[in-house]
Symmetry: C2
């Protein structure tokens, strides 16, 4: 019988690196975990049953996109996103804050009202209040719900970052109230504060005072260097409660993930494996491979000879090169599936190494491997 | 043990409609058969293992496209198209004639030399002689090879059509010589003659004199009406030998196929199910469905509730409508797979009905159904 409550168990640690397990009514998530991104109700180019075969235990949906299309009425009609897109395992949804900052044509943050923006699809004015964000995520029937936060663009301006922490704290309180009591789902807070240790500490204290089921690091992977990101993670994770899962939003390359696990992060999401799949870039145990390169034209070897998933080892690099040049959908389909599968293999190796106490060796071997 | 020789067995007939079986070293093809089109070494948007699950026993590759990209050298390096694209069942290749007429920027037909044209990719001048066409198809390692023919655009000009028959006869002889003796493969002749019974008869006599393993009707589905096509098929099939498979090139809708089977055709290929898949048009037992239409937005039912293939019955019309509007690849992937599966179900019903002697009833029920 599956656990009917959301819970997190910290199994073991190697220094700061954590092995854990999240239980939800829709399934277990072994951490450190990677969540493929299904922005508009589909992980681009991968059938749900094939995603499952990669070992993926949870995917991410985007509240901003799903609110605009198909919209709440249709999501409610289908009893949420799981049934709509034929994915029966856990789903985490972001709150929409990041997309409002990065995608919408116009946006204004009003502490009392919420985020006011124009849809990038039809220009319609939309108000996303903290309460509305939670309501939309409940319509999606998301298993892990994120609070609405203000996510400033990369900046060193402490005033802007402080104001964002203040707004985010206020909104987090309102989200918590709107979320109410539902222990089948989880509500995560989002830490802001840019690259400043003191601001991150302040933001974490605010959120821990309110009390959440997990804590996300927001406002990273927005243009800072990898070493800047690792530095603030190494500092900020010290302030996070050990008993709750920690999620680094929008990250990243295999190296980014490895470093963040080293500093104590449990969960990740990123479009990189699928977006790279669509541009011909493959991640492998031999490093990154740009399959567009003509040197692969006559290469009869597959990306990974040992990979049995959907017969992926039957497709040569030469064939993938041909498909990319011919603008064939099959290129995206095969390389995206390979990349998600590689990411999940990589996460599995991370977990194995933490379990066996060898994570630091693994970390040192691969930390510069995929750059 | 599989048959190591190409052969055709005519099992039974309902009036002119034929049930048959083609044996090849790579597998059996039950006829009437539909061949999905894999123009550039991939059936657009469908994994080979999923194509197999639709009951597809043979696919088509395009000599013109494969000659231009990846080119003969690479096809030889990979020992042909089967291994290159991971499809281990039979492949039929067209000769390139039709694409030279319809796609290339410039073309000239020279009876003695062959077809002279400029690549639609890089403008390079290429000469495709009858001998070269066979050589390319052998590099592809095609199981059913087509002769190079001159395929005129839709015309009522008997002079043009007669000249094409004359050129095609000459080229067919050269193709037969170049093909040589290889009973593991088949060489099919291509009948021309537009909508004229006497010209079709002349063209067939020319080809039967040379002697081929099968006969294709070319120069149809080029703009004539369905009734014009059915009329010339009903006349021309009388001149074709009963002991050889008959292939109607580039056809068509389910109704087109049904009518052609009624007049004695055994094999078909068409881009329609996959091309329609990419534009949101689905073929079902309830008729054609344009999934772009907003009336499907809240439709919670699948295209076919009984379809278990890859869980296709778990995807609602509402979800497909959302994917199309969102320009998601998954729309093409799901609808193309559904359409190929429907086409193969349709062919299977045609075969069942011929076997049980009820084909005429089936024909009358569905002949106007998909228009």
């Amino acid at each position: 019988m599956q656990n009917q409550k959301f819970s997190f168990e910290l199994i073991t640690q190697n220094d700061k690196a954590r092995l854990g397990k999240i239980s939800t009514p829709k399934g277990v998530i072994d951490t450190p975990a990677f969540m493929p991104v299904g922005t508009q109700g589909t992980v681009k180019g991968i059938f749900p049953d094939d995603i499952l075969k990669t070992g993926t235990q949870i995917i991410l949906g985007n509240t901003y996109h799903l609110l605009l299309r198909p919209g709440i009425d249709i999501l409610k009609k289908f009893n949420g996103l799981h049934k709509f897109m034929n994915w029966n395992k856990p789903i985490l949804t972001d709150s929409g804050g990041y997309q409002i900052m990065s995608l919408s044509n116009f946006n204004k943050i009003d502490k009392d009202i919420g985020a006011v923006f124009k849809s990038h699809i039809d220009g319609k004015k939309i108000i996303l209040s903290p309460e509305k964000s939670i309501q939309v995520q409940k319509s999606i029937n998301s298993d892990i719900i994120m609070v609405l936060d203000e996510c400033p663009k990369l900046t060193n301006d402490k005033k802007i970052l402080s104001r964002a922490i203040d707004v985010s704290k206020h909104w987090a309180e309102r989200c918590k109230i709107e979320f109410g009591h539902d222990n089948s789902k989880a509500l995560f807070g989002i830490v802001q504060g840019g690259l400043f240790k003191d601001l991150r500490e302040e933001s974490i204290k605010n959120l821990v005072n309110i009390g959440f089921d997990g804590y996300a690091m927001g406002g990273l992977a927005v243009g800072e260097s990898q070493s800047e990101m690792f530095k603030i993670l190494s500092e900020a994770t010290n302030f996070l409660p050990k008993s709750k899962p920690r999620y680094l939003m929008g990250v990243g390359t295999p190296s980014d993930i490895l470093g963040a696990v080293y500093y104590g992060i449990d969960m990740f999401d990123c479009v990189l494996p699928t977006r790279s799949g669509r541009t011909g870039l493959a991640f492998t145990w031999q490093g990154k491979i740009n399959l567009k390169n003509s040197k692969y034209q006559k290469d009869t070897l597959p990306l990974d000879e040992s990979c049995q998933l959907k017969g992926l080892n039957q497709y040569s690099k030469g064939y993938l090169n041909h498909l990319i040049k011919s603008n064939e959908m099959m290129a995206s389909m095969l390389i995206s599936l390979h990349n998600i599968n590689f990411y999940q293999q990589f996460m599995s190796e991370i977990r194995k190494n933490i379990r066996s106490g060898t994570f630091t060796t693994f970390y040192k071997k691969y930390i510069d491997y995929f750059n």
